[in-house]
Symmetry: none
Subunit: 195 residues, 4 copies
């Protein structure tokens, strides 16, 4: 299918240097303080190398963040046998890891990029939203089978609520605390209504 390899191959070193530089600069200065020239300088590459492989700054940030955040495979659901506890733990862990520094700074930049650029938005959904929904589906299915979770629950709506809670913490630059994580898990798990 693929024709023979011709010409100098893409430099993996440059690719990594660019993503690393982007990560550091995003943490230091945020998405708007970020400059393609600054990325290239810190990465020790030319600007053109950035534009050869990514269409713009937003795409670099998207790739950088989604690689760094999602690599911490916090997405996989625990399975201790207690479906309700698994759910609570997973919600709390996801919240903690996404909403706490330094991931929060990266995620904040990604949110800005997504708000500006619908391609980033789509990619965010594919590479973060989808895995989260998938893990959540697993947990909810398991919980429903065990009779611990309401069978009428809507997975997508739940994922929105969960991701949204994180996003608010991240965008508002709240210091995430254990109690806030707990409270959010409480709300999502237990709802507002009395039994």
């Amino acid at each position: 299918m693929s024709s023979v390899q011709r010409g100098r191959p893409r430099s993996e070193a440059a690719r990594l240097a660019i993503l690393t530089a982007t990560r550091d600069l995003v943490i230091e200065r945020g998405f708007d303080g970020l400059t393609v020239t600054a990325i290239a300088e810190r990465a020790g590459t030319g600007v053109q190398t950035l534009y050869r492989w990514w269409p713009d700054k937003a795409a670099i940030v998207a790739e950088c963040v989604l690689e760094n955040v999602v690599d911490i495979d916090l997405i996989t659901a625990p399975d201790t046998g207690d479906a309700a506890a698994d759910l609570r733990v997973w919600i709390r862990d996801s919240y903690d890891r996404l909403a706490a520094p330094p991931a929060s700074a990266l995620f904040r930049a990604l949110a800005v990029a997504a708000a500006k650029d619908s391609r980033v938005s789509a990619r965010l959904d594919e590479q973060l939203g989808a895995p989260l929904r998938s893990a959540l589906t697993t947990l909810l299915t398991r919980g429903i089978a065990a009779g611990r979770v309401r069978s009428t629950v809507d997975v997508d709506a739940t994922a929105d609520v969960l991701l949204g809670a994180m996003m608010i913490a991240i965008v508002a630059m709240q210091q995430p605390s254990a109690s806030r994580a707990e409270a959010i898990a409480d709300v999502i798990l237990g709802g507002l209504l009395a039994d």
Copy 2:
């Protein structure tokens, strides 16, 4: 204290034209496609008139959006006597009005502005977050009194969850549907766990 009014008074017509032009342009092109020059041109004013009354572009967008979005006094909580129904209706309405076009486009721009300017962020919290929290507090207090809402509910966490759900819809540029609004209200009200 304030000296007598001297010189030519501020043109209210210009002020309105600027805010209107900003709203239209934000909807057409988003925060990043927005240009101070374009605002001035469409409003039929000079650029300086913008900077005489607002510190920068973000502030104009903030004022424009918060006036347009919040003035639709969707914040006030309904009071039909049925606390649980009031809560559900209010959640659904808030979601619909903030997350659906054209408000979603305005709100998305505001989110970007807030992410890059902490003054906008503070103002967003004061003029949108606080009223929402306040209305939610009213509704929850009323619900707890009526025994329909769990007394252990955390208002701030709930507000985060609710606002976050909207934010996700806005940033992800989802087309919000009635069923999604309903599902989100379900999750927030009922939680995930079986009774």
Copy 3:
């Protein structure tokens, strides 16, 4: 005819600073070592101000050189009564002043610009060639009337020969010497053929 003056008027200071900076930089580094950014920096202006008033680097150099070179109104023909002597003096003077530093460096840059850009070439002809031809016409006409100059002489061809001799000295970066100026005047005045 001209409508009322609107908006901030063009800054004459900036214009002069740009032309001065260009002149200095051309002398220092030549046409190719010249950078629009460097011009702007030394002039203390923004790059955009250059592009607002000139289409490109070549045009700036053209204006700068033609203002600096032609202002030295060496173009005016002397009139001592002795037409042949006037002609010789004028040829030698023109050669000396155009081919000697620092004018030679400016003129060399202009030659490069003209070779690259036909608009500069046209302008060079209008603003330097034409006045030279005009002065030469005066001198030749006077000389013919006095019976000192051949009546069949072609002014344009003579101007080409004269300007060309200068240009060669300039482009080849010859050190112009009095004897070379004299020799060239000899050739042009006396021709090659024996009487």
Copy 4:
């Protein structure tokens, strides 16, 4: 002394293709519109092959032009017995062939290359200037011997005047005409002064 020839031999086809492509592109687009990548593409070679055999773009242009222009052995002086006529014919011919298209475009590019690169400048003098001066010396010497040329004539000054006249035509992108060639020959041969 020289070791045995090892490895793949230099491709003469590539060399010719490069020079041909350069010539065509110079005529089409001039020195500045010329791109090493474009040369390589049209020649069907890689860029590196250019840089393996020439130090830079200017050198390629120099070689290309000096091969194409000078090979047309217009330099050799005619010898019909009539020294004055020989001189006139040679001046006219030299002017025509150097200043008329397509040679003028090539020569114009060479002038630009020479202005930015002293090696090209030196090579231009060696490969074009020197032969011209040499031919001129022959003609003048012959003419002086025949009593047709003034014995006080300065060869270098004459060469400057002649080359300069061409240069002006080339740089000013004049359409050279037969009458202009004639007129220039007249000026150089006869001078301005009346007998």
